[in-house]
Symmetry: C2
Subunit: 234 residues, 2 copies
């Protein structure tokens, strides 16, 4: 299935400009040909090309499937970007394949990386969304300070995976029996969350969790969290 | 923790030759210094350096911890190598971090890759073993034809994830209630197992499983399987 990113407006669709060349030059689509596209709103659409130029492809469309490839839960993962961008990019790709709603790159006390260009992550997310046949494009936030995130989440659905010695439940036990809920899972940087950050999370009523006894890299921990939520809904 | 790969013989240890330079040149270890090392047998050892040259570091040792970082199950994943080696390498690294006993690169009817150098995979596995603080080095087999694998596994502990339409249980349901067991999970190539291969597996009594409704890349499916087994033992 060749899938494009497009936009809809009333009864008309147009492809995202960056998709036009692939449509017209590589796949050599012509007037009256049909194209499958997503807009990121969750649905799968099919369009008939009615106008076509170097920079635009547009026409009329119909809805093919609502909530296409939707996972039966909502999941936000907030994770401190790794020093090595490849590792974060691998996480984004795999998380989108498995099913994720939103990724919040976190700025923490122990963050190795203090700046981030999210355009490349968004491209990877789009490509993985198409590849895994989903209609909903995950949201990727700008780099967000830890405190800002804490102030903006509902602590009842939030879990924090940290490595300090403290009573914790396993991630799997924390989400068991709460299928279909919205979860926000916080994963720390390479040097873990700071004691100050952990205290702030605890003071706000966020549930501390563990991911088992293996020492996991940041992106492995984040991906394990996504996989365990996915696995609980199999 | 700086960790080396070494060998033991009676009461003596020596470091793997490829580790010597890092020990003597980078970390500038001297006579009578101590080094932590693993041999891959599962244990953590500590050695005292008694002889030291350009090519060797050796001395006496003691056992520090048996079954160091051991996961409470045994897991073999047989997976067709991806065309893009980076993807297989990412799988090996993350699988070792989470906990895996053996990786069998599979040669299937639809395999994109018909040859494989396992030395680089073994290096990645060693590095991930050290990084994740484990004493046991996973075994990585040479590329193995599908039929050969089928003839050499116990079908009672084997699961095959294929994409054909057929009755299947989810991986999580398949392993539930069987904690600590040895599992062999077969993951197909980018174009899935062939109908012939699936039939052979079925005829041999291997359990067909699914990994949910998302369409996953080969290495994502393999990693999801490892994570779900790990998650069931949290």
């Amino acid at each position: 299935l060749q899938l494009f990113l497009g936009h809809i407006d009333g009864t008309r669709f147009s492809l995202e400009e960056s998709e036009v060349q692939h449509c017209t030059k590589v796949l050599r689509k012509q007037l009256n040909d049909s194209v499958s596209f997503i807009t990121g709103d969750g649905n799968l659409y099919s369009g008939i090309i009615e106008t076509l130029s170097k920079k635009s492809v547009s026409g009329r469309y119909e809805l093919i499937e609502q909530d296409w490839g939707k996972v039966p839960y909502s999941l936000t993962v907030a994770v401190a970007p790794t020093k090595n961008m490849d590792r974060l990019e691998t996480f984004v790709e795999k998380a989108v394949e498995l099913g994720i709603t939103r990724i919040v790159p976190l700025l923490c006390d122990h963050s190795e990386r203090k700046n981030l260009k999210i355009e490349r992550l968004q491209k990877i997310a789009l490509s993985a969304t198409k590849q895994s046949l989903k209609g909903s494009l995950p949201r990727i936030d700008e780099l967000t300070p830890f405190e800002t995130l804490i102030q903006n989440i509902d602590p009842k659905s939030a879990l924090i995976a940290h490595c300090e010695d403290a009573p914790k439940v396993s991630l799997v036990d924390a989400i068991k029996g709460n299928k279909g809920q919205h979860w926000v899972i916080l994963i720390g940087p390479e040097g873990d969350f700071s004691s100050k950050e952990i205290k702030l999370a605890m003071d706000n009523g966020i549930t501390p969790i563990h991911l088992g006894s293996s020492r996991l890299r940041t992106e492995t921990a984040a991906l394990a969290a996504v996989t365990m939520v996915y696995g609980e809904h199999l």
